[in-house]
């Protein structure tokens, strides 16, 4: 098993990416292909005393900056680390690609180089969220801003396979993110998606409200990429503000200051549970192959976790399972269509 890692994309340069790759090679026994500028990566590896034979460097002369648009990347950055790393998956030299870089660049590289799974209309970024009872996967969280009900149905199918194999849940509970539990609640797209999901073979538990996302009522939370992205970012914002206010409250009283050393460890444990960086990246589902997108400011540990996750998805061949489900769903829709009517 070999994982291509875009070593140039992170906010903090190649060092944390290489460190994470070193940890992954050591702990998981995977081969790692670091993709990026040969000289720079060789120097960084030397500095980090990286002498693991399982880690190799593959040269890519260009780098995608954080602000560059997907369109620019597709036109002008086909020699960039993210693009070249994705090509290694296409050619079979690597089994998965992991990038802590520009999310749009990862998406566009996977879209053009790996291509969409047959029948999939839109790929989706799936994020793992901590819940009171374990984890849930929410998708899409940013790949598509304007979605149809059919897109949401496909996201549900993809998230279902993900939850089955990653969370080892035989029959994941699939919820549709909406503004009320009643069937009739939602906007036009979610109301239509509700009907499609109800008619599907999924274990659809109906609409779920924002409040329930973190309670663990659903294993798969389906939404369009605009809502999903806002929901994800606002969650980070709330967690951030609570942390800051809590610190302010604690340090503002002498009792609090006295107690702080005692609660420092519980607070750190809490931070680990809600810090999505620890979760190690979000897969792009719906493409042929395994693409894992990480935060630009990923730590070495987050990179290692993303590599671990990518290895798992590649071993499961999640993309093939998704293809099977999507084909079944298309056949089902074909059968449901009244005689003589075209799609």
């Amino acid at each position: 098993m070999k994982i291509a890692v875009d070593a140039m994309g992170g906010d903090h340069g190649p060092a944390p990416v290489i460190e994470g790759a070193m940890q992954a090679a050591q702990e998981l026994g995977v081969g790692i292909i670091l993709v990026g500028k040969q000289d720079e990566l060789a120097a960084a590896c030397q500095k980090l005393a990286c002498a693991d034979a399982r880690i190799t460097i593959h040269h890519a002369p260009q780098v995608v900056e954080m602000h560059e648009s997907p369109a620019t990347v597709a036109r002008k950055k086909r020699d960039s680390s993210i693009w070249v790393a994705t090509e290694l998956v296409k050619s079979g030299e690597a089994d998965a690609v992991v990038s802590p870089g520009n999310t749009g660049a990862s998406m566009v590289a996977s879209f053009f180089v790996l291509g969409l799974i047959k029948g999939v209309e839109r790929p989706a970024i799936a994020t793992m969220l901590p819940t009171l009872t374990g984890s849930a996967v929410m998708l899409d969280v940013g790949a598509n801003v304007d979605c149809t009900a059919q897109h949401l149905e496909q996201f549900a199918l993809m998230g279902n396979e993900f939850a089955k194999h990653v969370y080892a849940k035989p029959n994941p509970r699939v919820g549709l993110l909406s503004i009320g539990e009643e069937d009739s609640k939602g906007n036009e797209v979610t109301k239509e998606a509700f009907k499609l999901l109800k008619a599907s073979p999924l274990n659809f538990i109906g609409n779920i409200e924002g409040r329930e996302v973190y309670s663990g009522n659903a294993d798969v939370v389906v939404c369009d990429g605009f809502i999903g992205n806002v929901a994800l970012k606002i969650s980070e914002g709330v967690a951030d503000v609570i942390k800051k206010l809590l610190m302010k409250e604690i340090s503002g009283s002498w009792l609090g200051r006295l107690a702080y050393p005692l609660i420092a460890k519980p607070l750190l444990n809490l931070k680990r549970k809600i810090d999505y960086a620890e979760f190690g990246g979000a897969p792009l589902l719906g493409v042929n192959g395994t693409t894992m997108i990480c935060h630009g400011r990923s730590s070495a540990k987050a990179i290692k976790n993303a590599i671990r996750r990518a290895k798992g998805l590649a071993e499961t061949r999640l993309d093939e399972l998704i293809q099977r489900d999507i084909e079944e769903s298309l056949r089902r829709h074909q059968d449901e269509r009244p005689e003589g009517k075209q799609a």
Copy 2:
């Protein structure tokens, strides 16, 4: 100044509503008209030893249940406490209506009885959020699930007047909730709304991401009611989960348990800051008059705060200020329209 209070709508019956009304009469010197079943309210008042001459009861024989749809309310519940309380505003007997009941019922009563401000296409529920630096208003959080860019522009104008007068900010910073700060980011509706807001006289600071909502970068956060409701509910969910996990972490270690009495007060202060029930209701902006919608499970304190807020909005005549801004905006659009073209 008299406030009509729907005393039947709360989850916990009339008692907390009456208690809140008693506190408001005492502290704010306002007159209160408790609207609901005469016998029931009289008995509850007696039980609570409510002998304040500023508090009167106005009979309404029907009650709207939490599950009833707005359509049912409009057709069959015109003698309900919420409907009758709203009629008291229309007739001038009260200056504002406060209801802790069914949100849809409050909306539909205000819509039919008070009517929309001339030029306003859709009313919006505005919620006050705590931020790191103070407060912000977010709208719409649930009155409209499918919005156009023009609706969002009107929400911005309404939120702007609200922030000016309630937060005493002469030039509120208006942000559009989206998925990236760049002008080009967003879905079709927000991209179009971005252009309208940029061309408006508002202090438009551009797109803001979910993460920034609680950081205090904007005084007014504009979004459609679907997004706003999901964002609000997910914020509650995150806060809930953090609280539960924190308690679990703290009670799971002896150090934590030892420290708990020391941090109990900071935690309570924090809860007060993020508990929106303490903020005392969300106004329905865009109708002629002042309507304040509270949570069904509002405490007496939340009711008192909602009455205080309703009094402030009614004194400011916020509805008239909104009408002026909307009319100006319509004239501006009229002027911008090329010759010979109709709306």
